[in-house]
């Protein structure tokens, strides 16, 4: 079962999927920044709901999460944020399981998913939820028609791969290299071998972890990916802007222009 808005994002051309932490560094600035991603050509936006123990993130996104939480981001504010957001592309909520599990009166993922659906969220990526623990969230997503995207790692063997593909909907998040999130200067050779292994599966594959430039984007799409996911390289721009106390519009413009570069690289890779 799959969400039509997300399917559409992969239909004609490679999907460009930027990530930002909602509320980084403040609610209002962050709204501007996320809208800049859309203007820059985002096909799907992965919008982080900050969790205090982000074990899958490198220091760039970890710091973004700290800024956002210090700026007052809460689960309730996050849902308002999505409602306030004026973008025309699907939004995937990227967060850790405890926040999903705690929401509502009873522990369990259903109240969170129901609320997410009502504010217009289209899917989830939950980096600390492996297939082993995913049944309750998968069921809630099916019930409300949201996608649940699983991450495939370089260490994932063929048996696990089958299982992840069968559980995943919308797309597969192909982790480009071992480790945590963070922008890198090269494209890992692990990416190519992962894409080769995945070629036979009929589900869009979006590659993330380390992508920084239009050139990376081009190479990864040319290597067989259906989409690229970029987080830390964009968050770096916000971090620099925050540190330099730059005007929001200036930082937003930089975000937009890196998005354009990444999207163009992806398009080039598809030719």
């Amino acid at each position: 079962m799959s969400n039509p808005a997300i399917d559409a994002a992969f239909a004609d051309e490679p999907a460009f999927i930027p990530y930002l932490a909602a509320g980084d560094p403040s609610y209002d600035a962050s709204l501007e920044y996320v809208e800049a991603l859309a203007r820059g050509g985002a096909d799907i936006i992965e919008l982080g709901l900050p969790f205090s123990e982000p074990i899958a993130e490198g220091s760039t996104i970890q710091n973004a999460i700290v800024r956002s939480l210090q700026g007052g981001m809460t689960v309730g504010r996050y849902f308002e944020f999505v409602t306030d957001l004026d973008v025309d592309v699907p939004v995937v909520c990227m967060t850790y399981y405890n926040l999903i599990y705690q929401y509502g009166d009873e522990p369990g993922p259903e109240p969170f998913v129901r609320k997410a659906k009502s504010v217009g969220i289209d899917g989830f990526v939950v980096p600390d939820l492996p297939a082993e623990e995913a049944d309750p969230l998968r069921e809630a997503c099916d019930e409300h028609g949201l996608d649940l995207v699983f991450i495939v790692a370089p260490t994932t063997d063929d048996e696990r791969l089958d299982r992840l593909v069968s559980l995943s909907s919308g797309y597969l998040y192909v982790q480009a290299r071992l480790g945590v999130t963070g922008a890198r200067d090269d494209v890992s050779s692990e990416t190519t071998s992962s894409l080769d292994r995945l070629a036979a599966y009929d589900i869009p594959k979006a590659v993330g972890f380390g992508i920084k430039t239009g050139e990376h984007a081009r190479d990864i799409i040319a290597g067989g990916a259906d989409g690229i996911i970029v987080g830390s390289a964009l968050v770096d721009i916000i971090a620099e802007g925050t540190e330099a106390d730059a005007p929001t519009e200036e930082t937003a413009a930089e975000l937009e222009s890196l998005c354009e570069e990444l999207k163009a690289g992806a398009l080039e890779g598809a030719q």
Partner: protein, 426 residues
């Protein structure tokens, strides 16, 4: 696929990034083969090494002065006499040896009080494995002697600057390292926390405390104790000494562990009450580490367990005068045993722990770790608890590492039995 159950009732599980899952499957398989089934004589080698290198069995000592003070027979299980000065070596040696059997090439670990880091560094040196330890910046400052010991044993110590710089942040950082290096590296987790199979496996390496205690109490006292008291941070020394007393536990793996009427043995897990049991919701701070007493169910560091968290599910910063108890979570097995009312969670505050630290030093000539001091403080504060006449307290570690911290913390408060703590001027 391994067959071991990953949960303890509603608690436990494996909430980790996919990149780590194959390593966790591999570890589960190794745990079943080597630890549970003694394949290639693994457990024989472990027992030999924990005896010869570690110094087991540790004594069960009658504390004459405390016994008189409390008008009961108080016995101390002297894990402070284990090599390295804490129970931590049981697990560290077990896991480093297991990593070796699994063909891993590098060891990483986190540490709070530094005792687990020290034990891991010692085990790694003993078994010739390279080793890196993550430790919160605040804990590096509180536990400097252990930082030196780790380094002297050849380990690299990486201070962690995120959050409050305590155990919680150190665990997150070690998981990040592991996610990068998982193909050749084993993460020696320091307590009965984390994703399955860690909680069960760590308990099994510490179970030797309980085995010895059962034998020693029978030999020295003629029967099992009325109660067993241990401090609980993550809960490894707690489950270590409780393991063979819990009885009828469906997930128990020890053969013949249930041959006595163990239900008569009361089990008390003493948590750090810090400065208060109340929570500062606004700041996201719990001025305690009492997750069994006051926490709620949630998911942290790979397991569903009892946690200090706000209503959104954000993890709180915890507090304790002792670094080793300063953690917002607790082992899932303990959480289950508390729900089952098999283990009674109690807590004592920072001041009571400091008072107990001085008391044991003065009255018995044993300087306990500040963690252990919490267990001892419970004897003093909880006069109407049903401890019975024969009580065993697990002395989880010795206090050498804490001298500096204890001196500083004592100087800031009014601890009635504190000796003069000023530094001598010339």
């Amino acid at each position: 696929m391994p067959e071991t159950d990953t949960t303890f009732g509603d608690y436990g599980g494996q909430y980790v990034p996919e990149a780590l899952m194959p390593a966790i499957e591999e570890l589960t398989d190794a745990y079943e083969r080597y630890v549970l089934n003694n394949e290639d004589g693994f457990m024989d080698e472990f027992r030999e090494r924990i005896r010869d290198f570690g110094g087991r069995p540790t004594p069960l000592q009658r504390a004459d002065n405390l016994s008189e003070r409390y008008d009961r027979d108080i016995y101390l299980k002297r894990e402070d006499l284990l090599h390295g000065g804490a129970h931590k070596l049981n697990n560290a040696l077990g896991q480093v040896l297991l990593a070796k059997y699994m063909g891993k090439e590098r060891i990483i670990a986190e540490t709070g009080a530094g005792q687990h880091g020290t034990a891991t560094a010692m085990a790694a040196a003993h078994l010739d494995m390279p080793c890196e330890i993550y430790m919160g910046r605040r804990d590096v400052n509180r536990q400097r002697p252990n930082v030196f010991r780790m380094r002297i044993n050849g380990a690299e110590v990486n201070p962690v600057d995120t959050g409050r710089g305590t155990l919680k942040e150190a665990i997150s950082e070690t998981m990040r390292d592991w996610a990068t290096t998982v193909e050749n590296t084993h993460y020696v987790i320091g307590s009965i926390v984390g994703p399955a199979p860690f909680p069960a496996m760590v308990r099994d390496f510490h179970r030797i405390i309980s085995e010895e205690t059962r034998r020693q109490t029978r030999e020295q006292y003629g029967r099992l104790p009325d109660s067993v008291v241990a401090c609980a941070g993550g809960g490894s020394n707690t489950m270590g000494i409780f393991a063979d007393f819990t009885s009828d536990s469906p997930f128990s793996t020890a053969p013949d562990s249930n041959t006595d009427a163990d239900d008569d043995v009361s089990l008390f897990a003493v948590e750090a009450g810090g400065s208060s049991l109340d929570v500062d919701e606004e700041r996201g701070v719990a001025p305690n580490s009492a997750s069994l007493s006051t926490g709620s169910e949630g998911v942290l560091h790979g397991a569903r367990t009892k946690l200090l968290q706000n209503s959104d599910g954000q993890i709180m910063e915890s507090h304790s005068v002792s670094s080793g108890l300063d953690y917002a979570g607790v082992g899932p097995e303990l959480a289950k045993l508390v729900d089952d009312e098999r283990v009674t969670p109690v807590n004592v505050d920072d001041d009571a722990a400091l008072e107990a630290f001085h008391r044991l030093s003065q009255e018995e000539g044993i300087i306990p770790a500040l963690e252990t001091a919490h267990a001892l403080a419970f004897l003093e504060t909880e006069t109407d608890a049903d401890l019975g006449e024969f009580v065993v307290v697990n002395v989880s570690g010795r206090g050498d590492k804490d001298l500096e911290a204890a001196l500083e913390e004592t100087a800031q408060r009014d601890i009635p039995n504190a000796p003069a703590m000023e530094v001598f001027d010339e």
